[in-house]
Symmetry: C2
Subunit: 458 residues, 2 copies
């Protein structure tokens, strides 16, 4: 039995080995699925990580097969079910899982974009609470909406909204955790708005940027051209690779965590042969020990560049030309990373709301026209001249009205969701500005650091 | 500016006045809406509660009007947007709101039950974090799915699922809170399975059962026959009234909270005249002060009766006749309230999954038959004999296939959601049984009390 939390011995240190992989396990679609899953099971069996967090395991049968195979080194396992297809998320743990929870993202693409399919998967974040040698570890695994085109990314707003919900979920559920770990396929590049929002709001560090020993592809890319399952189309304007899978972490003051090593596969199986997936696997080793509360005199260095490295074809979102009247007036002193990123996310939600309203209006017009058409067809059917044509067109017209009604309702729901997130962002922005006005550094402490403050006092 | 949390002075006591009302503010439907909201605004202005938590404010314009009217006594306010119509939840606070979040319930009725309409509202739980004189207060407001027929309640499983999600949300987000407060219309009677699940899992107390001074209708009913907006049909088999609106609360050890008084209106305006809503308003006064950690040698008394007082026409859910093979074998020692309630909720999810699977199979057959019909119509249209009839029936048949497809997808989503909740319940049940086997009382401590244990140690 594990010791109760906060009972970790002084001078005790804990080594934590974590594995993360987007498994590309899509029945009837993914190549060499059975072989790759067999290899994955063999590898996890041989390595015995503390935690293995997987994404895109879309077949529950595959999870059950893996569970049986990994029962000895990983006696605890969980599959996160959601949506219509599922979340694709699962975990295998060497240690008992104390608590399990999850959150399904409110917005996740559009049902009529059937060829992209994300809407049908209940994209989510899963939470495990573990007690390791008296230390409370909150481990999160997630997978955000895919980016199908970087030049014209119609899902950007939804992905930023998901990043905010992820940040909120981690923030509110980890207040009693000693160590927080987030693994997953964020489908965002390191400097993207959503990625910066997540890191700035939660205070999570990027293992790739902080590790003492890195082995893997250049720039830490997790989808690379050397992987035989990756096409040039997958990489878009980045011919050598992209970094979209992450291991992020933090510890509260009183604990010290360091990333001893991070290994990313290089387009092959970790040991030999064909790769485990079209994504690369991440293997991180952490060391956690008691440490003094960290009080840095200078503000912590932000891991996010500014302005965000959007493609040059796209104007920066913080441009004052966008929605200037609704934006709270910001002074020159308010240029900290957190305030900037909250403001830009707030504006992105505004753009999304405007688009959703356009669709609502468009669907409304179609419904109106469809109803007029139906009335006209009824009149024609009542007469003699064009009765057959009228009857023939009645059902398609009714279908048009129903279809437009569904689009109308979907975008009303989308606008409500974006509006809700925008209001939360605005509140967080207000609080960050209040904290800055009082002279505190709003990077993390005022919003998140109650627990940190308390622990430091203790 | 409030003091930071956990900085509450020793020997300091805090008085907290809370107002809760399901406002019955449904545009075009509710009677005397404008008058009632005006009276509500006047009353809240005059009384100046610390917190006013409202449900069924379905019109955002009405919220904005109230916000303007209440700007002086309640400078902080928030409206929780979700779903298509909205959550109907809003809050007005005398004190600054530090943090805001919310969770939309995964399951909330059926879209084809248009006349009930709950599916179109994004039923949710809203969270506010407040710092009051150095004390961290987490206040939650919620509204669960309505119960339209107690004899044949087709929404029971969804309501129990919502109660579990509510309990999980409160549990995971309140680990650092000193005081937790939940107000809302739970649409459950005090002894109902979902209500017991919520109270047993979170350790929340019912203000009506604990208050030192109660004024209001008999049995604390919050929908009563004396209210002119309530019909006998609303009350079903309970002619005098039902209790479905609640104020629930708890404090962590180290703090002592008592409900000094609870007042429920009696079918009239609190001062005079017509009632504010078809529900009664709840007004509670709490006193919070520092207190010694409470270590009761005997297990705390459960507020839930057993067996649950279901209608006599319905067999108890814990009957071993239901799903006996899948239920983990329970020994005679495992009859604590929490284990019983988790087990019964687990079984209710099982029944819901079986119903969802029936619908999935039924919709699957309809899709198959519809596709056969479409092929037949294509063959007929290609011939000469019945071309016109074939063309006439083609669109309705395609509509049938699409409609059945939508039903199929909806119930797959429902089954996934219920399955996910059942897995979480099973995990909680396992942990509770492990704790009981170790001799600990599984009522609250092993699942929830990490924070309590920690504080006690401090």
């Amino acid at each position: 039995m594990d010791r109760p939390p906060s009972a970790m011995k002084p001078n005790f240190s804990l080594r934590l080995r974590v594995f993360n992989l987007n498994c590309w396990d899509i029945p009837y679609v993914s190549k060499h699925r059975a072989d790759r899953l067999k290899n994955l099971g063999d590898f996890l069996n041989a390595e015995s990580f503390d935690l293995a967090l997987l994404e895109e395991v879309w077949s529950e049968k595959d999870f059950q097969d893996l569970r049986r195979k990994l029962a000895v080194p990983y006696p605890a396992a969980h599959y996160f079910r959601s949506g219509i297809i599922g979340s694709g998320l699962c975990v295998f743990s060497k240690h008992p899982i104390q608590e399990i929870s999850h959150h399904v993202y409110t917005l996740n693409g559009y049902p009529y974009m059937i060829h992209h399919g994300d809407w049908f998967c209940g994209k989510a974040v899963g939470l495990l609470v573990l007690h390791l040698s008296g230390l409370v570890l909150n481990a999160y695994v997630t997978h955000l909406h895919a980016e199908y085109s970087r030049q014209k990314d119609i899902y950007l707003t939804h992905r930023v909204a998901q990043a905010w919900e992820l940040a909120q979920f981690i923030h509110h559920t980890s207040k009693k955790a000693d160590v927080v770990l987030l693994c997953g396929d964020l489908n965002m590049h390191p400097g993207d708005l959503g990625c910066c929002l997540l890191k700035e709001y939660t205070g999570l560090h990027d293992a790739f940027l902080k590790t003492q020993d890195f082995k893997g592809p250049e720039d830490g890319c997790t989808m690379i051209k050397h992987n035989c399952y990756v096409s040039q189309q997958d990489l878009g304007p980045f011919p050598f690779g992209i970094r979209i899978d992450y291991v992020l972490y933090k510890a509260v003051p009183g604990f010290y965590i360091s990333c001893k090593s991070l290994k990313i596969t290089t387009g092959h199986h970790p040991h030999h042969g064909t790769p485990l997936s079209d994504h690369e696997a991440l293997m991180a080793t952490f060391c956690v020990r008691h440490g003094p509360p960290q009080h840095s005199p200078s503000p912590p260095h932000s891991e996010c560049p500014f302005p965000w490295p959007f493609l040059t074809s796209r104007p920066p979102l913080h441009s004052d030309l966008l929605l200037p009247s609704a934006l709270p007036c910001l002074g020159p002193a308010e240029k900290s990373s957190l305030i900037r990123v909250l403001r830009d996310a707030w504006m992105e939600m505004g753009l999304g709301i405007a688009r959703a309203r356009w669709w609502i209006a468009f669907a409304g017009y179609v419904i109106g026209l469809g109803l007029l058409l139906l009335m006209l067809l009824c009149v024609l059917a009542a007469g003699e001249g064009a009765r057959e044509v009228a009857i023939l067109f009645w059902s398609p017209s009714a279908g048009l009205v129903l279809g437009a009604g569904a689009v109308f309702l979907f975008h009303v729901h989308e606008a409500k969701g974006l509006h809700s997130i925008q209001a939360e962002l605005q509140h967080a922005l207000k609080k960050a500005k209040e904290a800055q006005a009082l002279g505190a550094e709003p990077q993390l402490a005022p919003l998140l650091g109650q627990q940190e403050g308390d622990r430091a006092e203790e």
